[in-house]
Point group: C2
Chain length 388, copies 2
C-alpha cells in the first residue's frame, strides 16, 4: 500500500429514532439554519414537520431551500448561497439523499467565498473555509453523509463536476434506516448500485499489498448484494435497510476502505457526462456504464477480476481460464443489476449515439481519466459505444 | 444491529518517513511538549534524536517522561501529571507502543482534573477535558493510536484498570511501519495476538444482523494471520509490517468494525487480572486466556464459532458436526498462537494456582463480566484453571 493520510471528523448518529436528536445537535453549531431538502417527499412522510418542530424547540431560526434537483444545479446552489448571506445563516441542515447533501456542501463552501462557487469545480479555487453543516439521510446510496465530496451540475453548459474539502465534512449525520422504508423502488435499486460502484472505483486498482483494504471492499460488496433483494421484497425489512444504509456510508467515508490505494473513478466521470446531458439518475447511469468499463479494462490485471469473481460472486474457478473467471464475475455483476431492475443500456433511456463524441470529449476535458487503465477520449467513446 | 453513535477525530499520517511531519503537526497544538517514551529503544534506533530535533526545529520546548513500563503504572502517570502542571505543558507526544500511549492519555486526562487521576479508573469520576496529545507509534498492537481507551496498573494494589473518553483520542498519530522493523520478535508475536484479541472481543457477540461488521472483523483477522509469519521471517518485510500496523489500528479505532454490536471484553478483563499480579505482557496473557475462553463459551452460540472456523480458518465443515467445526476453529487459533511462538499456559510463566481465587474475585469486582456469556466469579475461576 502507499503512504496516506486519513481523518474523518463526522459524528454518526445511527438508528431508529435518531432524528429526535436533531435539535440538540444543530443548536451546538448555530441558531440560524438553512434547511435544504428536495421535491417534497420529506413533507409527505412527516419528516419535514418533525424536523422543523425539533429545531424550533431547540430555539433555532429556520430558513428554507426546497426543490433540490436529483442532479443538483448550480443555479439552485447560488440561490442557497444568497439566502445564507442575506439571513446570516450559521448552519446548514440537509434533509434528503446525496443530491440534497451535495447541494448543501456546495452552499456551505460558497457562502464565505468571494468569487463564483463554480470556481471550486473548475480547479480555479480551493475551498479554504465553509459554513458548518449537518445531515438527516433519507436514502442509502451516496456516502456524502460522511465525506467531503460533492457533485453539482451546471445545467446551461451540460457540465456535471465534483469538488471536495475537509471543510465540508458534515459535523453530524443522522442515519435512521426506517426513513428509507418509503423511498421509491428504483431509488433503492439505484442507491445500491451507487454504493457498489463507489466500492468498485476503490477496489479495482493496480496498488499492490493492500489485502485489508481489498477485503473491506469485498465485505461491503457482499453485504450490499445480500441485502438489496430483501429490501426490495419487503421495504420495511429493518435489518436489510440498516445494513444497506451502513454499507452506503462505509463505502465512501473519506476513503477509509481504500486508504493507501490508488482509486480509479473513470466510470463515475463517464456517468457524469451522461447525466449532465440527459439528466438520468446517477445510479442508473452507473448500472449501464460499470460492467462495460469492466469488460473494457479487465485485461490490465486479470488477477484482480479473478479475485473479485471468486470472493464476491463465489464463482468456482475450477476448470476455467482466468479470463473466463473474470468475465463470469463481470457477467454476474450485470445479471445482478438486471435482476434488481436496473437499466443495462443507454437505449433504455432513449439515448442514442449522437452525443457520444461530445460526452467523450468532456470526460477528458482536464486530461485522461482513470488509473486501473488510463482512458483517453477514444477509450471513453468505446465504453460509451459498448453501453448503447 | 443496534443503534449507535460513532465519531473518531484522530488524524492518521501513515507511511515511511511520516515522522518528518511531527514538528509541524505538534506545533499546531502547543509549544511546550511532554515527550513520553519507554525503556530507551527509541534512543537506540535514533527515533528519539530525530523527534527531538524535529520538535526543536518547530520551536517547541520539550520536557520528558522516560521509562514508561510495559504495563504503565499509576505512579508514573502521576509523575507525568506533575511535570505538565509545573512546566505548563500544552501538548503530550507519546513515542512508543500501547503502554506509552496509554500513559500519555492518563496524563492528558489527569492534568486538568483536581482529584486523583485513579478516580477515572474506579468509576468515581468521568473525564471532562484533557490536554491534547499525539503519538508516534512504534509497535503494531494496541489500537490506542486511534481511540480513546487506556489501561493503567496500580501496582501497589495489583489492580489493572481501563478508562476512556472522546477527549483523549490522539489529535494525530504518525504510523511509520518501518519503525516496527527493529522490535523484538516477541513484541511482534504478542502485538499480533493483541490485535486478533481486540477483534475477537467485538466479533463474538449475540447481536443479530450485523453482517458487514462481522465481515470487517473477519477481514482484519485474516489479514493479520497472513502477515505475522512473513514479518517474523523477515522483520523488514515492508508489506507485512504495513499490513500489521494498519490492522492494529483498524482493529480498535473507536469500535468502527463493530458499530451497533455488543462487545464482550471478558477475556481482556481476565488477562488484566493476571498481568496486574504477575506483570506478564498483555498479548502473551491473551494468548493463554483467549482460546480457553472460546472453549468455555462457544456453546452459547455455536453458529458464531462455526462461521469463525469456516471464514477465518477455512475449516471445511463437510462431514463434521457444528461442535466439531467450532472446536476445529478454536484449535486452529491455539495452533497459530503456538506456531508463531506465543505461550499457551500460565505455567509457561511459572504461574500456579495460588492466586486464582483472588484474580477471579478482582475480575468481577464491579459485577459479572462479558456479554457473549455473562461470567461470574466461578466462571472466571474455571477459565483461569483451564489456562494453568
Amino acid at each position: 500500500m502507499n503512504s496516506f493520510q486519513f481523518v474523518n471528523p463526522t459524528h454518526i448518529v445511527f438508528g431508529e429514532g435518531s432524528v429526535d436528536q436533531v435539535g440538540k445537535l444543530t443548536a451546538n453549531y448555530g441558531n440560524t439554519v438553512l434547511l435544504v431538502y428536495g421535491s417534497g417527499s420529506v413533507k409527505k412522510t412527516g419528516l419535514y414537520d418533525k424536523t422543523v418542530s425539533l429545531l424550533q424547540e431547540a430555539g433555532v431560526t429556520i430558513h428554507e431551500l426546497a426543490n433540490i434537483e436529483p442532479n443538483p444545479r448550480l443555479s439552485t446552489v447560488k440561490k442557497g448561497i444568497s439566502i445564507c448571506r442575506e439571513q446570516n445563516v450559521s448552519f446548514i441542515l440537509a434533509v434528503g439523499g446525496g443530491s440534497v447533501i451535495d447541494a448543501a456542501k456546495a452552499i456551505a463552501a460558497g457562502v464565505p467565498y468571494e468569487g463564483d462557487v463554480w470556481d471550486f469545480f473548475t480547479h480555479k479555487a480551493t475551498i479554504q473555509e465553509a459554513l458548518p453543516l449537518g445531515t438527516i439521510l433519507t436514502l442509502a446510496a451516496t456516502g456524502s453523509e460522511m465525506n467531503g465530496n460533492f457533485v453539482v451540475t451546471h445545467w446551461e453548459e451540460n457540465l456535471k463536476r465534483g469538488a471536495g474539502s475537509l471543510h465540508v465534512y458534515p459535523k453530524f449525520s443522522i442515519l435512521d434506516p426506517t426513513l428509507t422504508y418509503t423511498v421509491p423502488r428504483n431509488h433503492t435499486v439505484n442507491g445500491s448500485i451507487d454504493i457498489m460502484s463507489h466500492v468498485f472505483e476503490q477496489y479495482f486498482s493496480l496498488t499492490e499489498n493492500a489485502p485489508l483494504q481489498e477485503r473491506l471492499c469485498e465485505s461491503v460488496l457482499q453485504t450490499v448484494i445480500e441485502n438489496v433483494e430483501p429490501a426490495l421484497a419487503n421495504p420495511e425489512d429493518a435489518a436489510a435497510r440498516a445494513n444497506l444504509m451502513w454499507c452506503g456510508t462505509m463505502a465512501l467515508n473519506g476513503g477509509l476502505i481504500s486508504v493507501g490505494v490508488q482509486n480509479d473513478w473513470a466510470s463515475h466521470m463517464i456517468e457524469h457526462e451522461i447525466s449532465a446531458v440527459y439528466d438520468i439518475p446517477h445510479g442508473a447511469g452507473l448500472s449501464v456504464v460499470f460492467p462495460n468499463w469492466m469488460k473494457y479494462v479487465y485485461k490490465e490485471r486479470v488477477d484482480r477480476f479473478v479475485q473479485y469473481a471468486v470472493r464476491v460472486w463465489n464463482i468456482d474457478p475450477e476448470g476455467k481460464t482466468d479470463d473466463e473467471v473474470a468475465l463470469a464475475g463481470i457477467q454476474a455483476t450485470r445479471d445482478f443489476f438486471t435482476r434488481i431492475g436496473a437499466e443495462a443500456r443507454l437505449a433504455d433511456f432513449g439515448i442514442g449515439s449522437d452525443q457520444l463524441d461530445r460526452m467523450a470529449g468532456e470526460a477528458v476535458r482536464y486530461g485522461n481519466i482513470g488509473n486501473f487503465k488510463r482512458l483517453d477520449k477514444q477509450d471513453v467513446y468505446n465504453i460509451l459505444e459498448l453501453s448503447l
